[in-house]
């Protein structure tokens, strides 16, 4: 495949998508938090029931 030993290629085929998936999870988590925070800030302020 790419000149590396066969066992190392098998390990790479498992570890590389796991690593990319984990980075995506962190990235999407941060993006989602920002999106929710932005939506909260854009919305109406909570009703103040105190007199």
């Amino acid at each position: 495949m790419s000149g590396m030993p066969a066992w190392l290629y098998v390990v790479a085929c498992i570890v590389a998508p796991l690593g990319v998936g984990f980075v995506m999870y962190l990235g999407f988590g941060a993006w989602d938090r920002r999106r929710r925070k932005g939506a909260q800030q854009a919305g109406l302020p909570p009703v103040d029931y105190s007199i």
Binding site: A6, Y9, C13, I14, P17, L18, F22, M24, Y25, W31
Partner: protein, 299 residues
């Protein structure tokens, strides 16, 4: 033009990324991995050899299923007992599926009139079409029912099978479900993964929703651990057989992982019935693509 060399042929990276993006969007919309679309489209559009399309498709599913697993674990969706019972059978099924694929790949061609078709293409692609047709019919049939029955199906036919030891599934509100039925579903799902290179979400979701009567939120979260386990084992088995192209898998993963998030957001604006109907239409389109590939072998 950037390209990858896959089995001696040049495949454009941008084309692969575009396919990954399109499939990822659809997969995110329906809460599945998208392997049922990815593998046949790699074969039909880019003429990638079937074993490599299957192995590389499974490899990219590792990344997408890890993201799903971590997200669902955080919100506590799914039925852990169901997952645990499926795992042993599914791991055995992956090995069986991969061996069957290897046997078919060495079985030569079937001569039909003027044309010939490799046995592996005939069996795998026919298997795809039958499985997808059954799933599409299930989605379409249930989308046509009143919304109440679509959302609140309880205790489906598989949940009423009284065979072998039985367990309760508290997260789904089901009691006395046959553990053997769940284990055999795991075996069948693993076999499909090893043979067809799909995660199996497209087959498992209707089984959970309509076969057992899972609530939709629990159905979406169930099976992801199994999906991850089968993708890990399946990738290992296929990589050892030289069927995984890592570059191809990573390009698909990069495109699909991002667009799946937008697909998931888009699905929130659709009703359950409309989503099921669109799902059925997408599946029928995939069947058409596979059928076209089979016909091309013969003309």
């Amino acid at each position: 033009m950037w390209s990858l060399t896959v089995a001696g042929s040049q495949v454009p990276i941008l084309g692969i990324a575009a396919l990954g993006t399109a499939v990822g969007y659809v997969a995110g919309m329906f809460g599945i991995g998208g392997g049922f679309l990815m593998t046949p489209l790699l074969i039909v559009i880019f003429r990638i050899p079937l074993p490599i399309a299957i192995g590389s498709g499974l490899c990219q599913i590792i990344g997408t299923s890890l993201v799903s697993f971590l997200r669902h674990r955080r919100v506590g969706q799914g039925e852990p007992r169901f997952d645990l019972l499926m795992i042993p059978g599914s791991l055995l099924g992956v090995e069986l599926g991969a061996r069957t694929l290897a046997g078919l790949a060495n079985a030569g061609n079937l001569e039909l009139g003027d044309g010939s078709i490799p046995w592996v293409s005939l069996v795998v692609e026919t298997g795809y079409m039958v499985m997808l047709l059954v799933v599409a019919i299930q989605y379409w049939r249930h989308a046509s029912q009143p919304s109440d029955s679509f959302q609140f199906l309880r205790s489906g036919p598989l949940a009423r099978v009284r065979f072998g030891p039985r367990i309760d599934l508290p997260a789904s509100g089901l009691t006395g479900v046959s553990a053997l039925v769940i284990a055999y579903i795991g075996l069948g799902l693993g076999f499909l993964s090893g043979l067809l290179g799909i995660g199996g979400g497209v087959a498992l979701n209707p089984v959970l929703l309509y076969g057992f009567g899972f609530p939709i939120r629990q159905a979406v979260g169930t099976g992801i651990v199994v999906l991850l386990a089968t993708a890990l084992l399946g990738t290992g088995v296929h990589a050892a057989a030289g069927n995984v192209h890592l570059g191809l898998s990573l390009v698909l993963l990069a495109g699909g992982g991002i667009s799946a998030q937008f697909g998931a957001l888009a699905s929130k604006r659709m009703s359950g019935a409309a989503l099921a109907r669109v799902h059925a239409i997408v599946i029928v389109a995939a069947i058409g693509a596979v059928a076209w590939d089979l016909v091309k072998h013969l003309v």
